[in-house]
């Protein structure tokens, strides 16, 4: 399987099974279009390329055949035979701790209601947090690296418990040989100097929520009194980013159909000095007025392409920043076993409510049909666990035939369930956006791998 595409006047092809990426000239691109899906050249199709001279066509064929022979084009699937081994029983290695089912913002797109997740406002106790750490250790088998994300609602509203859990995990780390990595996801409203210092000393990663331009942020990220949060959050988030040396954090925004020009928000955050940026499409109900719709996809894809071009220019000219969705590690990325099932929700990754209930991930919290047990009694026999365990890009027909399957790993199960009532049917709009992001990421790699990569159109 291959995927060939054109972006900003650059012709490219991805060899799906090997991960090889090539840049082509127009002749080679058109000649490649004369090959069928099995890598067999259709000579009748070649007759449509009379605008090229024969020697150019033959050179292109020779180069394509060389890449085929060297397993860099039309590579056959070497993974199918490995699937049974990779699909073995998994262990739990990451928890999303819902430290607070309460929030000091009232964001218009929040999937957690206003922080309470279809339940009541509550804070996790230290006892529950400690028990969650015990649960993680006991269910992690031989895995050494374990991850805990402090999430909400707003976790800074219950920060003493966060500190208590970190202290407890560090003591258990020593006796068990485990290595905990902590992350905190916060709206930054309460991010005073003491909290920043603690986080910088103890957290592997910090996610700071901010949507971009003031008017965009404040339209949806409102404080309880209805005023916007931008003016309060921005200086605190900037301090945090600077104190972390612009490393191991993300300023993380959400875009909706109200700002399909979200690239401007990304660049606004870069202009503010943030170097680690993630701005992502909203997951919102169909009737919310905020959800990205099928008719928006073309606009959003164009915006990604425009952003990619500006991204390359800025990085080339000393205004370096990192955009999470354009990051792709072609050489040292994860193995295919990891790429089969993505985030691991419902198996390796679970969410824990303030009361200690377990769910497949934070997006499923409060949906009782997805309750997977609790930290006291362990995992239950809910059959959805098997669905999560048995779902990967090979078992989902739409993913199995998709060229991007080893880059998005099947997409978000919560999105799939929300839009298709089935975690095995990916959310099509998410698929289209992800495919465009991967194309942009590969194009960026080509541009940055050599400045001789060819001029961009426009």
């Amino acid at each position: 399987m291959i995927h060939s595409f054109k972006i900003h006047g650059t012709y490219m092809v991805l060899d799906v099974m090997s991960g090889a990426v090539h840049q082509l000239d127009e002749v080679a691109y058109d000649v490649l279009g004369c090959y069928d899906e099995n890598g067999v050249l259709n000579n009748d199709e070649l007759k449509n390329l009379s605008r090229y001279n024969e020697s150019e066509i033959n050179e292109a064929i020779e180069e394509i055949e060389y890449l085929k022979k060297n397993h860099m084009l039309f590579t056959e699937d070497p993974y199918t035979q490995m699937l049974p081994g990779w699909a073995k029983q998994t262990v739990v290695k990451a928890l999303c701790l819902h430290i607070a089912h309460d929030c000091n913002l009232r964001c218009g797109y929040c999937f957690a209601g206003t922080g309470e997740y279809m339940g009541h406002r509550s804070l996790m106790s230290l006892d529950v947090g400690k028990k969650a750490i015990d649960f993680l250790i006991e269910n992690s088998g031989n895995r050494r690296n374990l991850e805990v994300d402090f999430f909400g609602g707003e976790p800074l509203m219950n920060f003493e418990v966060v500190k208590g859990i970190v202290d407890y995990a560090r003591t258990r780390e020593k006796e068990t040989g485990k290595n905990f990595r902590f992350t905190i996801t916060t709206n930054a409203l309460l991010l005073d100097e003491d909290k920043r210092r603690y986080i910088n000393e103890n957290m592997h990663n910090v996610v700071l929520s901010l949507d971009g331009r003031k008017e965009v942020n404040d339209a949806l990220r409102k404080r309880i009194d209805g005023t916007g949060s931008y003016d309060r959050v921005l200086p605190l988030a900037r301090k945090m980013a600077e104190e972390r040396g612009q490393q191991q954090y993300y300023v993380r925004g959400t875009f909706t159909r109200k700002n399909l020009d979200f690239g401007t928000d990304v660049l606004h955050l870069a202009d503010l000095g943030f170097e680690q940026i993630s701005v992502e499409p909203v997951v919102a109900n169909k009737d919310s007025g905020l959800d990205i719709r099928a008719e928006d996809v073309e606009t959003v894809c164009r915006e990604y392409e425009h952003l990619a071009k500006e991204y390359v220019e800025r990085r080339k000219n000393g205004q370096w920043f990192n955009f999470f969705h354009f990051m792709i590690d072609l050489e040292g990325g994860p193995c295919v076993a990891k790429r089969l099932r993505g985030c691991g929700s419902g198996t390796e990754y679970l969410a824990v409510t303030p009361e200690g209930e377990l769910y497949p991930c934070h997006q499923f919290v409060g949906r009782k049909e997805f309750l997977l047990g609790n930290i006291y009694d362990g995992l239950n026999q809910n059959p959805v666990r098997d669905t999560f365990r048995n779902t990967n890009v090979y078992t989902k027909p739409r993913c199995n035939s998709c060229w991007a399957k080893f880059y998005c790993s099947g997409g978000c199960a919560a999105n799939a369930w929300q839009f298709n009532s089935d975690i095995r049917i990916p959310y099509e709009i998410e698929c289209e956006l992800e495919k465009k992001r991967v194309e942009c990421a590969l194009w960026i790699k080509a541009q940055e791998s050599s400045r001789l990569a060819g001029p961009a159109e426009n």
């Binding site: 099974m17 090997s18 991960g19 090889a20 090539h22 840049q23 082509l24 000239d25 050179e59 180069e63 890449l67 397993h71 860099m72 081994g85 990779w86 262990v91 290695k93 990451a94 999303c96 895995r143 050494r144 690296n145 991850e147 994300d149 999430f151 990595r181 992350t183 996801t185 990663n205 996610v207 993300y250 993630s278 992502e280 499409p281 999470f324 792709i328 590690d329 072609l330 050489e331 040292g332 990325g333 994860p334 193995c335 295919v336 076993a337 990891k338 790429r339 993505g342 985030c343 691991g344 390796e348 990754y349 991930c361 934070h362 080893f406 880059y407 998005c408 790993s409 999105n415 791998s449």
Partner: protein, 46 residues
């Protein structure tokens, strides 16, 4: 080659017998929380 420039050679299918140790970061913990972006994760063995 004159018409094709390789940006990245075959990488996915290398060392597949050693794949699946599971020590790498859970992607949802990195930044996204609503979407899967896996290809930028680091392998703990490299």
């Amino acid at each position: 080659m004159k018409h094709i420039k390789t940006i990245n050679e075959s990488t996915l299918n290398k060392d597949i017998k050693k794949a699946g140790c599971g020590e790498c970061q859970t992607s949802c913990q990195s930044a996204c929380k609503t979407s899967c972006t896996v290809a930028n994760q680091k392998c703990e063995r490299k």
